[in-house]
């Protein structure tokens, strides 16, 4: 039982990490109808920039403080993601308005190639570390209930808290700020939003920046856990089943979907994996999402698809 709970907690926390990446997808899809395959590349480039600048900045300015270095690196990376958002809007999205979903998907795959190459060109392609002082030691909880307690990784727990906080901030941003309201209007109907004077281009920059910041947070958390390297860009592939399971248009869906996929993945790997040779978590997540979709084709919380002739 204790082991089951450990696996369950582990799954929930991995799930929160998936939700972080999934959030980026959902934000962009809601606001611009683009299925952003480049989200993984954005996670990679944000993590690379964070890792390198936190090493470079103290070197350039000649100070030692780790906290200050991290704060400055975060700021610089945030600006960097903003610039990327501007470039993408200016040179890609602006020309592809009203194209089919497939074309837009392909364009984002092109963007992801570009960002992968650019990130490694600027920041180098070795394995780097991010140290934002996340606790590394495991902790035991519920010791009174079970003998020996349940092992929980504090690092995962911190990550889960960070993810939850980010979601709360985003929810607030969407619900109560004027930019958030404009975003929701654009998500609802591009034309209507434009006709009442909401500048579409600026909204897209904002959305891609916000998605870039979500990618940055995801990159910091994943990067400090596993090291910053090229495989980070496959993080997006782990998050895709989360997005379709939760529904492409739903922020809560991304969270719940992340938790379901995280738990399902861990439980299947632990309890089913040994019988079939292990390593099943990546396709199991997709299968799980697919089974859910067979019953609800628009995802758990997606907008209902209504067909009209």
């Amino acid at each position: 039982m204790a082991f089951f709970l450990e696996t369950l907690f582990g799954g929930l926390m991995t799930g929160m990490l998936y939700s972080l990446v999934a959030l980026g997808f959902v934000l962009i899809f809601k606001a611009s109808g683009v299925f952003n395959f480049a989200q993984g590349a954005m996670v990679l480039i944000a993590a690379l920039s964070m890792a390198r600048f936190s090493a470079w900045i103290p070197h350039w300015l000649g100070f030692e403080s780790l906290i200050l270095a991290n704060i400055l690196a975060f700021a610089v990376t945030a600006i960097f993601m903003w610039l990327i958002a501007i470039i993408i809007e200016r040179f890609v999205l602006r020309y592809l308005v009203n194209q089919e979903g497939t074309t837009l998907l392909m364009a984002t795959i092109g963007i992801s190639y570009f960002l992968d190459g650019m990130g490694q060109l600027i920041f180098g392609s070795s394995v780097y570390t991010i140290d934002v002082g996340m606790p590394k030691d495991p902790a035991f909880i519920l010791e009174s209930v079970f003998e020996g307690g349940v092992l929980v990784s504090l690092e995962d727990l911190t990550a889960a808290v960070v993810a939850a906080a980010l979601v709360a901030v985003l929810a607030f941003f969407f619900q109560y700020t004027s930019v958030g309201r404009a975003l929701r209007a654009v998500a609802d109907d591009h034309q209507a939003a434009q006709s009442i004077g909401i500048p579409l281009n600026r909204i897209w920059v904002v959305v891609w920046t916000v998605a870039g910041l979500a990618a940055l947070v995801a990159g910091i958390v994943w990067g400090s856990k596993f090291g910053v390297q090229f495989t980070l860009s496959t993080a997006a592939l782990r998050a895709l089943p989360v997005v379709i399971l939760g529904g492409l248009t739903s922020v809560p869906g991304a969270i719940i979907g992340g938790l379901i996929i995280g738990v399902g993945e861990k439980l299947s790997e632990v309890y089913l994996g040994p019988y079939v040779g292990g390593g099943i978590e990546i396709w199991f997540a997709y299968m799980l999402a697919m089974v859910f979709l067979l019953f609800r084709p628009q995802g758990l919380f997606g907008e209902k698809i209504i067909d009209r002739v």
Partner: protein, 354 residues
């Protein structure tokens, strides 16, 4: 001036409905075939045959398969690398376990197995649509990758999943030198291209297109979505499976599951989009673009006398590749096939403006 159909009267439906209704097109096609079958093998060096022509033809074949699914039936698939892998490994397993089986039959059976897997993974398309389906097809990709890495039976218990084919012969003729392999592949591609072209012109092709344009409306006028979608998946994965077997047997010779990973699937999808959705000739243009671009990108810095470190060069290649794809999508979202047909229209009235 030379390219127009004045004076070419058609006196039967048969003549009206042929693939190339204009005589100049037929002459051009015959010339092209003569070049492909005679001039290229006679003139091209082994490097050109091996590094450009063979991969170009096989990728074009795979793209035709994918185009049937994505371009004609409108079901986006990011899992086509998986069907290539199934074709390759199934063909190889037949070859290893039944040594007497002829090469062509092995390859076709590889395609048949890809068909079965394709239909199974096509079933969700009956419920799931659009981008949701695109992501769901990734399930096929990851499952197949995993199966060939982790289930030792498929790779005949070779330790790393790496398998290789012995010297090939077909119909008693050797298929070993680059020229022989090129002709072997060319014959396959020609047969399947004609087959595919005729399928999409026929009743089933029209059903696919009706489903693509609007599946609810199509089912209202009496097209069975189940039948249309699953046949599209079946035909498409058969062709992709055959292409996979050819890729493994003829192009690679020895391979591992990694040869058919997600990168391959994305590459095929690029070929289809850049070439033109719903166009057989576009698949060839796209494949040519995709094969020539990396060759071009690696050679351009040398022409200017620049020498870049290997990893810097590969990163720049990545960037240019991505940027070019975006550029092509922006300037011609309907692909190279559209440019081709615009060019043909222009040529018909040339030198007059209207």
């Amino acid at each position: 001036m030379f390219y127009r159909e004045n004076g070419q009267f058609k006196s039967s439906y048969r003549a009206d409905q042929q693939i190339f209704p204009i005589r100049q097109d037929r002459i051009f096609m015959l010339g092209l075939l003569a070049v492909a079958f005679v001039a290229v093998p006679a003139l091209a060096s082994n490097y050109f045959l091996q590094a450009i022509f063979i991969p170009f033809l096989i990728l074009a074949l795979a793209a035709i398969g994918l185009n049937i699914l994505v371009g004609y039936c409108g079901q986006i698939s990011i899992g086509s690398g998986a069907f290539m892998a199934v074709g390759a490994y199934a063909a190889w397993n037949f070859g290893v376990r039944i040594p007497a089986m002829p090469l062509v039959l092995q390859i076709l059976l590889g395609g048949a197995f890809a068909t079965i897997v394709g239909v199974i993974f096509g079933i969700p398309s009956l419920r799931i649509r659009g981008l949701y389906l695109a992501v769901a097809t990734l399930a096929a990709q990851f499952f197949v990758d995993w199966a060939f890495l982790r289930i030792p039976y498929f790779t005949n218990y070779s330790s790393s999943g790496n398998v290789s084919v012995p010297a090939l012969t077909a119909f008693g003729l050797p298929v070993q030198t680059p020229m022989q392999r090129y002709l072997f592949v060319l014959a396959f591609v020609l047969v399947f291209a004609v087959l595919a072209k005729n399928l999409v012109r026929g009743a089933i092709g029209r059903q696919w297109m009706a489903i693509r344009d609007m599946d609810v409306a199509a089912s209202v006028i009496g097209i069975r979505p189940v039948y249309a979608k699953l046949t599209a998946f079946a035909v498409s994965s058969f062709i992709i499976g055959v292409a996979g077997a050819l890729w493994a047997y003829i192009h690679l010779g020895s391979w591992e599951p990694l040869a058919f990973d997600l990168t391959r699937s994305l590459q095929l999808l690029f070929i289809v989009i850049i070439g033109g959705l719903g166009s057989i000739v576009g698949s060839f243009f796209g494949a040519a673009f995709m094969v020539l671009l990396p060759v071009f990108l690696t050679n351009v810095p040398h022409m200017f006398g620049l020498s870049l470190a290997v990893d810097t060069a590969s990163h720049i290649e990545h960037m240019v590749f991505g940027a070019l794809i975006v550029f092509f999508l922006i300037v011609e979202p309907h692909g190279l096939a559209r440019l081709w047909s615009i060019g043909k229209e222009k040529l018909r009235i040339w030198p007059f403006p209207h």
